[in-house]
């Protein structure tokens, strides 16, 4: 199922991810990190289902642990010494905690990027950046068209060559390399040859005439504006919290950060709302749809 946030205007999608990823990178407060990671995790599950769960558990969690354990081996700042390593270097609590925080930051950014990939499809990206450089956007679109064709043709040629007894899996290394290079060389000829027809087709449809316009299938709506307003308000609120020192974090020399006093908690909730916005939209729309179905 397509999630509701994906149906918003590409600009909204892009701004959202850009800001959330920047926040995840620079707001190293442990509570903020946890919120960001949890939200990204949940949203990637929503978008990619089982595949995301598999990736997150098998790749991200081990990665997180390794990163967290590596930092204290190279970084010896901090005042709380846990023990001395065999080389005589001190292993500090602060370094362990910072390693963990940095790893969490890293992992949540990866997780956000996986969500970004699912939401920002190539045509949305093209739409956004095509306005800046129209010629480049067409080239990009043509590349996206060309790559799958090229891959498919390699497959066809490899099969045909295998039927001539020239496959890539038998014979000695020299022969295999020779066969591989031969296929690549003919692919270049093929690509050049076939691009002539494409060029003809472009020319015959008036490509190159002055005054080319760019068409898109995206139109901004009211909900896009509302989303942006809400989103900007939340972002400014959170930044203000950090700027005024209401929320802060310090890892070295000794760990210190705002805890769960009522005022900072308001900011935590604000950040939680920001990170969960796509999921909230999705759930609200689903709920609305169910109500709509039950009424009619």
């Amino acid at each position: 199922m397509k999630d509701a946030f994906s149906t918003y205007h590409p600009l909204v999608n892009f701004i959202y991810f850009a800001v959330v990823i920047l926040f995840s990178m620079f707001l190293m407060h442990p509570v903020f990190l946890c919120i960001s990671f949890a939200s990204a995790f949940l949203y990637s599950l929503r978008l990619n289902g089982k595949r995301a769960l598999k990736f997150n558990l098998l790749f991200l969690v081990p990665f997180l642990l390794v990163m967290a354990l590596l930092n204290p081996l190279f970084n010896h700042q901090g005042v709380t010494i846990l023990f001395y390593a065999s080389s005589g270097n001190p292993i500090t609590l602060e370094a362990v905690l910072y390693g963990f925080a940095a790893a969490l930051m890293f992992v949540s950014v990866i997780c956000w990027f996986s969500c970004y990939n699912a939401v920002m499809t190539s045509d949305k990206f093209l739409y956004l950046f095509g306005r800046v450089i129209p010629a480049l956007s067409l080239v990009f679109s043509m590349v996206l068209r060309f790559v799958p064709r090229f891959k498919a043709q390699i497959c066809v040629i490899t099969r045909a060559q295998a039927c001539m007894g020239r496959d890539l899996h038998s014979g000695n290394l020299w022969q295999r390399m020779k066969n591989g290079v031969q296929i690549l060389s003919i692919m270049v000829t093929w690509a050049l040859e076939h691009s002539i027809e494409t060029a003809t087709s472009m020319k015959s449809r008036g490509y190159g005439l002055p005054g080319r316009t760019v068409f898109s299938i995206f139109y901004p709506e009211k909900r896009d504006r509302i989303f942006l307003l809400l989103f900007f308000a939340l972002s400014v609120f959170i930044l203000a919290g950090f700027a005024c020192g209401i929320v802060f974090v310090r890892y070295y020399p000794a760990l210190g950060f705002t805890g769960f006093a009522p005022v900072p908690v308001i900011f935590y909730i604000g950040y939680l709302a920001l990170c969960l916005l796509p999921l909230i939209i999705d759930l609200v729309e689903e709920h609305q749809w169910k109500r709509f179905v039950s009424i009619t």
Binding site: I186, R212, V214
Partner: protein, 558 residues
């Protein structure tokens, strides 16, 4: 009013000896559906490309072309891009962008229309062509037929006055081709767009055309209403006659003065008139699969199952098929029924996940590549271009023999022998990509033949071939067969299979549901059979080819 008026147009390609077009005089009326036919290389494409300046080839040109009463040279590129739509053969190469909606808008973007206009035009065309269901898809996920429809739709979005189509169905299967041609007819009938179409397969398109022009060697040799053209060609005893729809060929061969039938329906009526009152309904012969167990089995498929990916449905389901030594087996069936996959299973390129594929009693995939494809299996892929790897045909053929311990002289001798057999001796110095479709097919076959195959597996070899070359190709195959080569051919071309194959298998839903001797096989089918059989089956149920029907007509006439 005339859309196009061509006056004494001649054209010669650079370095060519004889002209590609010689003194063409032709007027195309507004709203007309003009069919242009002729063998490959007769100058059809050259003529069509002259009708749009941006596509016109370079060379020596004389004569004049007027578009809407104005010299085409004077008509601006913008006006030409918009008013003259052009669709060519290959569905793949005309598509520029990666999304369906973007492709539809491409021409309009070039012409500089604003967002709102493009939106409306694209929406209109998507609805007219029934594209709305795959409007957001990636182009790569479409079938060949859908791609060609998309090409047509993206031209039509520009609202052209005239639509020029250069063998647009050459790469499509028969069902998709028919669908495409019907859409073209609809555009012509409902929108009044002038259509100029060149085509190789005439059976379906002949009844749609208002006027037919036949070309040969750069000249127009016949012109007129569809039913007149047959007689003109017959009088000239021209080879193009054999490319005409079966009812017309039959009509011309049977003495009588009734008007010429063009469609199967008219053919049936004509046959009833000519053969007198309807006496008895011929019993359709049921296809009995006789066991020709005299010959040895060379390829055996036993309850084979195959699918490309785990989650996907089976492509081949419980397929049983045997190929016997020295026979010519044709595999027919609709698109996506697993014909080509079955061929790849036979060649061992794919392995079944259940069941067995045996080559001379051994599991085919376990035989090492060298042994499997040297003096054993020869596979001609659907796209002959996939076989070429060198700069010239000669080098390509030498490359095949590079592993063999033969002297230069022996190699040359062998290549000459094969080149003579496939009639490519004059093409040896050319780049394989510069050959025409039929020539590529022959050069590819030559490459395969150098491996001295005992079993030939051919995937859609007659795709895009003209009627003349099909006969040459069939002769090559028969020649090979008489030398003891077993032939398995997968094809959509029912007419070709009916004429030349010995045994036929009909594929449906991943398995061969009926196998029989060609004649009985086609007599037993009522849809999947030749046009001649469909036309005459109520009279002569045994007649499959046009010759059969002509013979039956001439013997039973009162």
């Amino acid at each position: 009013m005339e859309t196009f008026r061509i006056d004494n147009l001649s054209f010669t390609y650079p370095l060519a000896i004889r002209p590609a077009l010689a003194g063409i005089d032709l007027a195309v009326e507004q709203g007309e559906f003009l069919l242009l036919c002729g063998f490959s290389g007769c100058g059809k494409s050259t003529l069509l490309r002259h009708l749009k300046t941006a596509l016109a080839p370079h060379g020596q040109k004389s004569g004049q072309i007027d578009f809407n009463g104005v010299d085409l040279q004077e008509v601006g590129l913008r006006e030409q891009s918009q008013k003259i739509g052009f669709v060519v053969q290959s569905p793949e190469e005309q598509i520029v962008t990666d999304k369906v909606w973007h492709e539809l808008a491409f021409g309009l973007e070039s012409l500089g229309y604003d967002q709102q206009t493009i939106r409306l035009r694209v929406a209109e065309m998507a609805s007219f062509f029934g594209i709305q269901n795959w409007f957001h898809e990636d182009v790569a996920t479409l079938s060949g037929g859908q791609k060609q429809l998309l090409n047509l739709a993206s031209i039509m979005a520009m609202q052209p006055e005239v639509l020029i189509l250069d063998e647009p169905t050459g790469q499509l299967d028969p069902i998709a081709a028919l669908d495409f041609l019907q859409t073209v007819k609809r555009i012509n009938r409902e929108l009044g767009v002038t259509v100029i179409l060149s085509e190789q397969r005439l059976e379906e398109v002949f009844p749609l055309a208002d006027r037919v022009v036949v070309m040969d060697r750069g000249k127009m040799i016949a012109e007129g209403l569809p039913l007149e053209v047959g007689n003109q060609l017959k009088k000239q005893e021209h080879e193009m006659f054999y490319a005409l729809p079966s009812p017309m060929q039959i009509h011309a061969a049977v003495v009588g003065d009734l008007p010429c039938p063009v469609t199967v329906r008219e053919g049936r009526r004509w046959l009833d008139q000519i053969c007198g009152p309807y006496t008895e309904a011929g019993e359709p012969v049921a296809a009995t699969s006789q066991n020709l167990s005299r010959q040895e089995e060379v390829v055996t498929l036993k309850e084979v199952y195959f699918k490309y990916e785990k989650e996907q449905p089976d492509v081949i389901k419980g397929l049983n098929l045997t190929v016997r030594q020295g026979e010519f087996l044709a595999v027919v069936g609709g698109n996506g029924t697993g014909k080509s996959t079955a061929l790849m299973l036979m060649s061992g390129l794919l392995k079944p996940y259940r069941g067995k594929v045996l080559l001379n009693g051994k599991a085919v995939a376990s035989i090492p590549g060298k042994e499997r494809f040297w003096q054993n299996l020869g596979v001609l892929p659907q796209d002959p271009q996939a076989l070429f790897v060198k700069k010239t045909v000669m080098l390509d053929l030498l490359e095949v023999l590079s592993d063999q311990k033969l002297s230069e002289y022996e190699k040359e001798l062998k290549i000459n022998e094969v080149a003579t057999l496939t009639e490519i001796t004059s093409l040896l110095a050319m780049h394989p990509y510069d050959l025409s479709g039929g020539e590529q097919q022959r050069a590819a076959l030559a490459k395969i033949l150098l491996l001295d195959p005992r079993i030939l597996l051919l995937d859609e070899p007659t795709k895009g071939m003209d009627a003349r070359f099909k006969r040459i190709f069939a002769a090559i195959l028969q020649n090979l067969q008489s030398g003891g080569v077993t032939i398995v051919l997968v094809s959509h071309d029912v007419e070709f299979c009916a004429r030349y194959a010995e045994r036929c298998a009909l594929f449906f839903d991943g398995s061969a549901i009926s196998v029989g001797e060609a004649k009985e096989f086609f007599c037993g089918n009522s849809f999947y059979t030749t046009a001649a059989n469909r036309m005459a089956r109520h009279r002569f149920p045994q007649a499959v080819t046009t010759e059969d029907v002509i013979k039956a007509c001439n013997t039973t006439r009162p």
